[in-house]
Amino acid sequence: MVGGGGVGGGLLENANPLIYQRSGERPVTAGEEDEQVPDSIDAREIFDLIRSINDPEHPLTLEELNVVEQVRVQVSDPESTVAVAFTPTIPHCSMATLIGLSIKVKLLRSLPQRFKAPVISLPDGRAHYPRDPRLRACSEQATCR
């Protein structure tokens, strides 16, 4: 999983975070099993891609920590655009950069190429832009595709 791995035995920044319920597997509808009907890419599909990413600190997923939510995924299949906003568990979380990068890489690898650049942002509207030059380079690298 992208962005996995714990931080070892050091003290956690947030040892007892709030946990949110996991949504179950998306139920398969009759339409999805019908060969002829095309299924468009919707917010739930994008959310399913990123919800199982593990938090860098906890053995918990971004969904369980409510870092990502389906309502904050904006997607338009015909226009080939996608935007995801995420909230770190605590303000000024030092891991925010890493989480944003994980989401971005996961989307770059999992979405059709017509979705040019997934927009990842913090909820206050600031565009997510890694300050660390190495991370920045990575998030722009073509090999992520």
């Binding site: 070892g8 007892n16 999805e32 095309p38 890419i41 999992s110």
Partner: protein
């Protein structure tokens, strides 16, 4: 005469001397075995061998001496059982003396002592003297591995046969052994050494003042860190060493004061395997420890376990931590206390409660579940622990439930509550009044009912489960509670489509509870459902909308769900039958008969009859078979209670097609009978069945007849009659297959007869299978024949089952595979292009059903064919080939990696197949490909990642999902940590 004997005696002695000389001076190995064989057969005595060796044993050159002793030792190893007591004494004295000799000699000396340690004639006292000599003279750890192993063997042998003598040595023996094994490094030797230490402790040898030394000399290996070298011929696994060391460390409470600090230290370390090993060892220790050993370490042990469960990143560590806490509590609960001693259990549990309970008050936070799990692990240990914890936790959780108003929080609290209530079931209370839940019964009930009426489905679901658990506690719920509960279950059983999961859970709970409280259900629920059904009947006649219809369906499902107790079934069954008549009366009178003759209804009845028949008592079976066969053959209805039938029952003659369909019931009955029940009029029955099986008017009844014929054939004992039946069947099949309207019926008959014979390894089965294979190239029946292979290889549910007493040999699939696959492959190569898919399809059916371990060795020969099958245009062949290849990719990556080039290309091609199922299967195979060795895959990585971008934009979501997971896995290939 005497001279002749002397010459004869001298001749073999000369031969012996020659052999000895060849071995010692000539450095040949062969003579040793020769001499040993001669001694065994009585040609020489051991004394003669010693005499022949003579000067070699005292030769001043150590190499020669060693060689001499080696010969003697090798002879002794093979002939130790022949030795006399006097010889043993002398040999032991000699060998003990040699222990002081040059180091080159020692290995052979040890071999000799090992031989003597196996000797039954060893007089008392000598074992001790040998061991003393070894302890004194030999520095074991400077010997090579093999010789150290010999020393351990000598000790093991003596411990097995001379236990009493060794115990006479007292702690000196233990000390001697500690010195022997101190510094041992070889895993092979360690396994033996650990075994010896374990025996020292468990057989109660005196450890004297050396307990700590013995602990040190073994615990220095903890935690075991050993990776077997590749291609290790000895096959020792890390796990073997871990278990064997653990059995030593956890074998005695006397190690506790040294071991527990070590375990705590290792749990606190950063290494995952060390944590796991320590927790598992602690778990093992608890089986022998008591309160005394644990007392001083409880606070630290609890702190470590708590930290692991609260903070761990690994589920295994969490599980092991919980298991360790469970055994600790079991151990503390078990100890018998003296009157004045304080009970550690209470203080330990109160510690746990203190550290965990405040987390239970924050149902949104991460630590709520780890805390609940810790408490439940402890509560599951003993009735006492369970009482203590539940009586503290239940009031807390009840209070918290009311304090929190959000349904997600309430659900978490109720789920925890459910966990604690479930634990109650583990302990049966003799005195029901002492049960801790008793005091909270009313609060619990009102809370559950609140949950059941709440707005959230999830909360309702947990509420239903809790209700079931409460109901399972004997005599807990009062009749008023039950009435309320039944009322709720009634309401929940009629929930609409959107709350399907809740409705299903409510039906399930009704079924469980109805079996426990039949009276409550038959007095409160059955009348309501009866009323509902009556209303539904009148609604149905008025033809009201779909809502009424679904409500009606719910009612029927509820009735069937609660029919889990005989007394309820007695009420519900007449109700349902009456309802069936009622519903149909209002349409046409003949509808009921039509309903009962539908394929599904008949199949369901057949399965009931079949199951019932397999359990018949022999007398009843014999009686029923007479009735039933004569019913079907002669139309004899006299044994049926209400024999007022309008027309004659003659399914095999010119009876109506409806009557003929009932042959499926005959099939269910006669094919499930035990093999020893004799079937009357068998000859006629078989002929009628055969006739009907090729009758083309009704496929349902002809198939049933063919199956029935096959089922009887399978059980019939070998002999002339069986051969006659087979001949009849073959004639019938051949006549039918020739041409005409009933080709497909004849084919079905052939298929079932073949299956019946394949299952019992009948010699004719190969002939029939060949016929079946021939049909693969038949333009009309080819596809059906290919699908027939699937039927041959699969397990039936109605006839030819093991449960139905059919003769099913366990390896029939393997046998079929070995017998027929070569022919299938050959047939494929010889067949014209247009029927090749049939062969591939047949083959892939056979492979699909075969146990994978059987398939793996055959792969290299078949793989090329399977790869060819991937290019076959038939979707079914593609799909079944892919589903055959996918597990092979996972299980035999080495073999598959030879074909990586073809596999990648073909899978990628198929990932754009027009069939969605094929695309999905191809992408799953692409995913499975990543299990091949990484170096083989890396050259394809860029190409695959580029190619997999296309299915990411597939129009079907299910395909995209597989593409995402496959592509994600390919991205990770070769990255660190994968």
């Amino acid at each position: 005469m005497a001279a002749a004997a002397a010459v004869e005696a001298a001749a073999p002695t000369d031969a012996l001397w020659g052999l000895v000389h060849d071995f010692v001076m000539g450095q040949q190995e062969g003579p040793a075995d020769q001499v040993a064989a001669d001694v065994k057969s009585g040609n020489y005595t051991v004394l003669q061998v010693v005499e022949a060796l003579g000067s070699f044993l005292e030769n001043p050159e150590p190499r020669t001496r060693a060689r001499g002793i080696q010969l003697l030792s090798q002879v002794l190893l093979q002939c130790h059982s022949l030795l006399l007591e006097k010889e043993v004494v002398h040999l032991i004295l000699f060998y003990e003396n040699r222990l002081k000799d040059h180091h080159l000699v020692i290995p052979s000396v040890l071999q000799g002592l090992k031989a003597l340690s196996l000797c039954v004639a060893l007089p008392p006292g000598l074992a001790v003297s040998v061991l003393k000599a070894i302890f004194q003279e030999v520095h074991v750890q400077s010997l090579p591995q093999v010789d150290r192993h010999t020393v351990y063997n000598i000790i093991t042998n003596f411990m097995r046969t001379r236990e009493e003598e060794l115990k006479g040595l007292g702690a000196d023996f233990t000390f001697g052994f500690i010195q022997v094994m101190d510094g041992e490094k070889d895993p092979r030797n360690l396994l033996v050494a650990f075994r010896i230490v374990h025996d020292l402790i468990s057989r109660d040898y005196s450890l004297g003042p050396f307990v700590e030394e013995l602990f040190e000399v073994t615990s220095c290996y903890f935690p075991i860190d050993f990776t077997p070298p590749p291609n290790d011929p000895y096959g020792i696994q890390r796990e073997d060493l871990i278990l064997s060391l653990r059995s030593v460390l956890a074998s005695t409470p006397r190690f506790a004061e040294f071991l527990l600090p070590l375990l705590i230290e290792k749990v606190d370390s950063e290494i995952l395997s060390a944590k796991l090993d320590s927790l598992q060892t602690l778990n093992a220790c608890c089986a022998v420890y008591g309160q005394k050993e644990l007392k001083d370490f409880l606070p630290s042990l609890w702190a470590s376990i708590r930290r692991e469960v609260f903070q761990t990143a690994s589920e295994r560590v969490e599980a092991e931590g919980l298991a360790a806490l469970h055994s600790l509590t079991v151990c503390l609960s078990r100890s018998v206390l003296s009157a004045d001693a304080e009970d550690l259990l209470d203080s330990f549990l109160s510690n746990i409660l203190q550290d965990c309970r405040h987390h239970l008050c924050e149902p949104d936070m991460k630590l709520v579940w780890p805390s609940a799990k810790l408490l439940q692990a402890a509560a599951g240990a003993s009735a006492r622990a369970c009482d203590y914890i539940t009586s503290n936790i239940l009031p807390l959780l009840l209070e918290q439930f009311h304090k929190h108003s959000q349904s997600s929080q309430r659900r978490t609290i109720l789920e925890m509550l459910l966990g604690f209530l479930k634990l109650q079931q583990k302990w049966s209370y003799e005195d029901k009044d002492q049960r801790p839940v008793n005091g909270f019964k009313d609060q619990l009930c009102s809370l559950v009912f609140m949950a059941l009426t709440g707005p959230s489905t999830q909360l309702q679901l947990v509420g239903i489960h809790t209700l079931t658990v409460l109901g399972a506690q004997p005599d807990l719920l009062s009749s008023e509670d039950l009435e309320l509960a039944v009322g709720h279950l009634y309401r929940l059983s009629f929930l609409e489509e959107d709350f399907q999961s809740c409705r299903v859970a409510a039906l399930e709970a009704s079924g469980t509870l109805a079996a426990l409280y039949p009276v409550a259900f038959s007095s409160h629920l059955v009348p309501k459902l009866t009323e509902e059904l009556r209303v539904g009947e009148s609604d149905l006649t008025r033809g009201d909308g779909p809502t009424q219809c679904s409500r009606h369906l719910c009612c029927l499902q509820a009735l069937s769900a609660i029919s889990t107790h005989p007394s309820i079934v007695r009420e519900t069954l007449p109700l349902l039958l009456q309802h069936l008549c009622q519903v149909n009366k209002e349409k046409e009178p003949s509808v009921l008969r039509k309903v009962l003759l539908e394929d599904e209804v008949l199949a369901a009845m057949a399965s009931v009859i079949g199951t019932a028949t397999t359990h018949l008592s022999p007398e009843l079976a014999a009686q029923s078979v007479t009735h039933i066969v004569s019913l079907f053959l002669d139309g004899n209805v006299s044994f049926l209670p209400e024999n007022s039938f309008p027309s004659r029952f003659q399914p095999f003659q010119d009876g109506s097609s409806g009557q003929r369909r009932l042959v499926v019931l005959l099939m269910a009955f006669v094919c499930s009978l035990p093999r020893n029940v004799e079937i009357p009029q068998l000859n006629q029955l078989m002929r009628e069945l055969l006739e009907l099986s090729c009758c083309h008017s009704c496929p349902f009844s002809s198939t049933a007849a063919a199956k029935c014929f096959a089922g009887l054939l399978n059980k019939h004992p070998a002999g002339q009659q069986l051969d006659e039946f087979l001949q009849l069947a073959v004639d019938k099949v051949e006549a039918g297959l020739g041409s005409g309207p009933c080709r497909s019926q004849a084919f079905t008959l052939l298929l079932w007869v073949t299956k019946a014979l394949v299952l019992r390894y009948h010699p004719l089965s190969s002939c029939l299978t060949t016929r079946l294979m021939g049909l693969l190239s038949d333009p009309e029946l080819g596809p059906a024949a290919a699908d027939g292979f699937s039927l041959l290889m699969s397990d039936c549910t109605d006839v030819l089952t093991r449960a139905g007493h059919a003769e099913v040999r366990i390896m029939f699939r393997q046998r079929f595979f070995t017998d027929n696959v070569p022919a299938l492959v050959q047939g494929f190569h010889a067949a014209p292009q247009d029927v090749k898919p049939n062969y591939l399809k047949g083959l892939s059916h056979v492979l699909n059903r075969l146990p994978k371990p059987v398939l793996l060795p055959e792969l290299p020969t078949l793989l090329s064919l399977l790869l060819e099958a991937l290019s076959c245009p038939d979707c079914v062949v593609q799909l079944s080939t892919l589903s055959c290849l996918q597990p092979l990719l996972l299980e035999a990556p080495q073999v598959m990696s030879l074909h990586v080039d073809t596999l990648v290309t073909k899978f990628l091609n198929l990932s754009s197949s027009p069939s969605m199922a094929v695309r999905i299967a191809a992408l799953q195979c692409m995913h499975a490909l990543t299990r091949l060795p990484t170096p083989v895959l890396l050259p394809y990585k860029p190409q695959v990642i580029r190619a997999l971008a296309k299915p990411l934009d597939d129009k079907k979501r299910l395909v995209r999902k597989e593409a995402v997971s496959a592509r994600g896995e390919w991205f990770l290939l070769g990255s660190p940590g994968s």
